[in-house]
């Protein structure tokens, strides 16, 4: 798995490439923790090139979203972890595990980044 990172004024966009399994999940967790430690709590994950996800990857996503949402940035705005470009196979895993309703999923990165 590889992660590429683009930083915008308020939002960070991480693109995940390859397999998100037990072997690579800690790498994503570390990247997200780094952002949180820098006070960056508005994050979009671009899943266009994610071709595989297993439950350890789902675990990282859910814990990161909980952590981001706990953070209040202003009275009106909070942190969040939002998803974009979800491939069908990934959506199938989300559907099976009841994860679909737990995340905001956008059709493209532009609308996901713009949603903050």
């Amino acid at each position: 798995m590889e992660i590429t990172h683009k930083s915008f004024a308020r939002v960070d966009l991480l693109s995940i490439h390859g397999r998100l399994d037990a072997a690579s999940a800690p790498q994503l967790k570390q990247k997200l923790d780094e952002l949180f430690d820098q006070g960056r709590y508005q994050i979009v994950l671009d899943l266009a090139d994610l071709n595989y996800v297993a439950s350890p990857g789902l675990r990282v996503l859910i814990e990161a979203r909980k952590r981001a949402r706990d953070r209040k940035i202003t009275n009106l705005e909070g942190g969040d972890l939002r998803l974009a470009n979800m491939p069908d196979r990934i959506r199938e895993v989300f559907d099976l595990t009841g994860f679909t309703s737990l995340f905001e999923v956008y059709d493209d990165t532009l609308s996901a980044v713009g949603s903050f």
Partner: protein, 248 residues
């Protein structure tokens, strides 16, 4: 009977090799792409559990994978000599709770049972932990059950029409195609009945798609936004072609 076995160290680095083994073997067994992917995920979850729980992520020990074909089934076994595993000690995850309460544990076992047709665990001092999982070959590609519904799909009409479908699902049908060519009217309770049946077969890892909708019936799906929920094909041929490719 032809069998193939590999033995790998019980480390996370082995997961990529395990996936490769599954991809090659499912291809030899003739599984379609979607079914092969389901097996791949189930085996990955099983191997991860062995590495992290049976061996406590120590990196010591091995996993032995063996696959063979048994009639219409692709069978794969995973053996380890770590801590004895009892699946009944793992609580089933609640996959409906809201984000704040959601626990992400137990998902591996849950996915394995959802993705495979049969999952069984055994343990003995000599044999270690043995997990055997079976997957029907071509279950998504060949066993399409087509039902032709007709008339008015209101509360009463739908219940009668859908009875046979529900019965078939109870008897093991997993890939359902509803031909709605003869349906002249669809009410909200009809729609709800279709949704319930769809939910039921999805929960069993199957699929339900629709085809041949009249414009006035299609309009009901469009107005209610359910074109996003149901897979709708214009013709029966389109639907069957998509199902044979492994897409619902």
């Amino acid at each position: 009977m032809r069998m193939e076995t590999i033995t790998l160290p019980a480390t996370l680095d082995s997961l990529a090799l395990i996936s490769e083994f599954v991809i090659n073997s499912t291809s030899q067994a003739g599984l379609d792409e979607r079914t092969a992917w389901q097996v791949q995920l189930a085996v990955d979850e099983a191997a991860t559990n062995i590495i992290q729980h049976s061996y406590d992520s120590t990196g010591n020990g091995t996993i032995e994978l063996t696959w063979w074909r048994d009639g219409d089934f692709y069978v794969i076994s995973l053996r380890d000599f770590g801590r004895p595993f009892d699946p009944s000690e793992v609580p089933a995850p609640d996959v409906t709770s809201p984000l704040e309460d959601r626990q992400a544990g137990g998902l591996g076992l849950f996915l394995m049972s959802r993705l495979m047709d049969d999952v069984s665990f055994s343990f003995s001092e000599q044999e270690g932990n043995l997990l055997v999982m079976r997957k029907r070959i071509g279950s998504t590609a060949t066993d399409v059950r087509i039902f032709t519904l007709s008339g008015r799909l209101d509360a009463i009409g739908t219940e009668a029409a859908i009875q046979d479908v529900d019965k078939a699902i109870d008897e093991g049908a997993r890939t359902i195609l509803l031909d709605l060519q003869g349906v002249t009217f669809l009410s909200s309770s009809g729609l709800r009945a279709l949704l319930l049946t769809r939910k039921k077969v999805l929960a069993l890892n199957g699929s339900l798609s629709l085809c041949e909708l009249r414009p006035e019936v299609l309009e009901v799906f469009e107005i209610t936004g359910f074109t996003q929920v149901f897979t709708i094909h214009p013709t029966r041929e389109d639907a069957l072609a998509a199902l044979q490719r492994g897409n619902p």
